[in-house]
């Protein structure tokens, strides 16, 4: 028997396999395919204070071993989430983790204040890394002072476990990680998507309506893995690893590099059952290697 529980700050997830925000809807989209209660947690689709229609179509471009997206945080706003969606998912038997976004710090604060009042919300992911919105989003996550400021502001209003989701579109991700750690983050999750673009050579126009978008999928995995390893060595708070994880081997790589838990993202689009296959694969690996606590994998890289 493998003990699969992992600690994220002072909160314990039942296992290290979670699903990444923006790739798993609100969870119920996948209920025909898997037993959602087996997941360590679901990071739900990014939330904002007010309704957002997102960017114009086309929002997606397939690329080599990955895809670009420019959804732009389409959602019906925090009140709709709390009143209409959360009651339908709070009893799924897995940790529901909201992912919050804003154009200005005050919007982040208002969203976090509302979630702080919701019974059952124990963990929050502060997204300072969305590349697909004109204002706010990634702008907070690519400069140290603004990353620190928004993290401090949310730390002051949200009493539960605070995870800050980092952008890879920076010169030195460890500086941002150390900054948000100092500002009171309980954990960091990385990486969000890489800013990229694609062009239709026949029309000579960009494929995405927004010209640029976020690259995800196995194309980014080696870079994401390197960043997880660097951040793990730079901070003392837990790291949640994501970026192109397609199978259990990828997930174990992230844990060996220093991740305490992982998020499965784009892979959910190709195989709606992949998250559970990854959980089973990690368990299998531990059993075959005589590992009794999955947390022993974290930072197990041998140099």
């Amino acid at each position: 028997m493998v003990n699969l529980g992992v600690n994220i700050g002072n909160y314990r997830l039942k296992n290290p396999v979670t699903t990444a925000s923006g790739t798993f809807g609100y969870g119920t989209e996948f209920s025909d395919f898997i037993d959602l209660s087996r997941l360590g947690g679901i990071f739900v689709k990014g939330l904002t204070l007010k309704n957002r229609e997102g960017n114009d179509y086309p929002r997606m471009a397939e690329t080599a071993s990955g895809m670009l997206n420019a959804v732009g945080l389409q959602n019906k706003g925090i009140d709709h989430f709390i009143e209409t969606i959360y009651p339908t998912i709070k009893d799924l038997g897995t940790e529901i983790i909201p992912n919050i976004n804003g154009s200005i710090v005050e919007e982040y604060i208002e969203v976090a204040e509302k979630l702080n009042e919701v019974d059952g919300i124990n963990v929050l992911e502060l997204n300072i890394s969305c590349p697909n919105v004109k204002e706010g989003g990634m702008a907070f996550g690519v400069s140290c002072p603004s990353a620190i400021a928004v993290t401090e502001a949310i730390r002051n209003v949200f009493k539960g476990t605070l995870i800050v989701k980092l952008s890879p579109n920076v010169t030195d991700i460890t500086e941002i990680a150390k900054g948000v750690e100092g500002a009171g983050a309980d954990a960091v999750s990385l990486v969000n998507t890489f800013l990229g673009m694609a062009i239709d050579v026949h029309s000579k126009k960009p494929i995405l309506s927004t010209v640029t978008g976020g690259l995800s999928g196995p194309a980014i995995k080696p870079i994401a893995l390197r960043m997880v390893w660097q951040v793990y060595n730079a901070v003392s708070i837990p790291v949640i690893g994501l970026g192109g994880i397609m199978n259990a081997t990828d997930a174990i790589e992230f844990m060996l590099a220093g991740a305490s838990a992982i998020q499965v993202g784009t892979a959910n689009f190709i195989d709606p059952q992949v998250s559970i296959k990854i959980l089973d694969g990690i368990t299998d690996y531990c059993e075959k290697n005589g590992i009794t606590n999955v947390s022993e994998l974290t930072g197990g890289l041998i140099l």
Partner: protein
Amino acid sequence: MKHVQDFTVKHYSRLNADSYVLTLSSDTGVEEVNPGNFAEIKIPDASDVFLRRPISILDVNHDENTISFFIKAIGKGTKKIGTLAIGSKLNLVYPLGNSFSIIRQKNILIVGGGSGIAPFIMLASRLKNENTSVTFLIGARSKADVLLTSEFAKYGDVLVTTEDGSMGEKGLVTDHSVFTDPTTFDFIYTCGPDPMMKAIAKIANDKNIECEASLENMMACGIGACLCCVTPTVSGNSCVCTDGPVFNTKELQW
């Protein structure tokens, strides 16, 4: 209920240079499918095709445990699906999306262009049970692209337009003489290229005829998780994969 299921490639029927009907079989049976539903097909052994391909379901046969697709090979994915060995495995996520309304006791016009004719054989077979009168209008570039007409003919009159005039009336579907008085129809279904569907929707809306269109936006997940395939509607951006692919054209911001 939506399923992830492995099928076996049973048969290809080549219809012209780039179109084919692919028939797959499964020992474990085939789910109930409604006209307009689609499947997300995983492309095997294709490192340059990362995402599944959403393909409209042509037909299912529960006696023979088969499901079939009418596919036009125009991109990397649809070309690859056309070259698999008989007996090889193909993984589907299906049935996805909503379906066409089944209308009773009405005069129906079905307008299809290109691979957009795919859902209409199953639709017509369901409509026939409801004693409706169905007329098909098929638009194509030339005679070689007018496909599956014998299948359509089982359920109603088949009208054709070709852009080069090699079959039926010359021009686009919207030029066809059947539109001299479209009010003889109570309901129009359409599927095909966006400009064609928009033109049909305009005719229908101008004459106050109910019209449903099935959209073909690019998709990633097919199950409403990624929000990539949206189309603007009266209630905001809607996912073509879950709110559609079939929309009443009055709902669309065309």
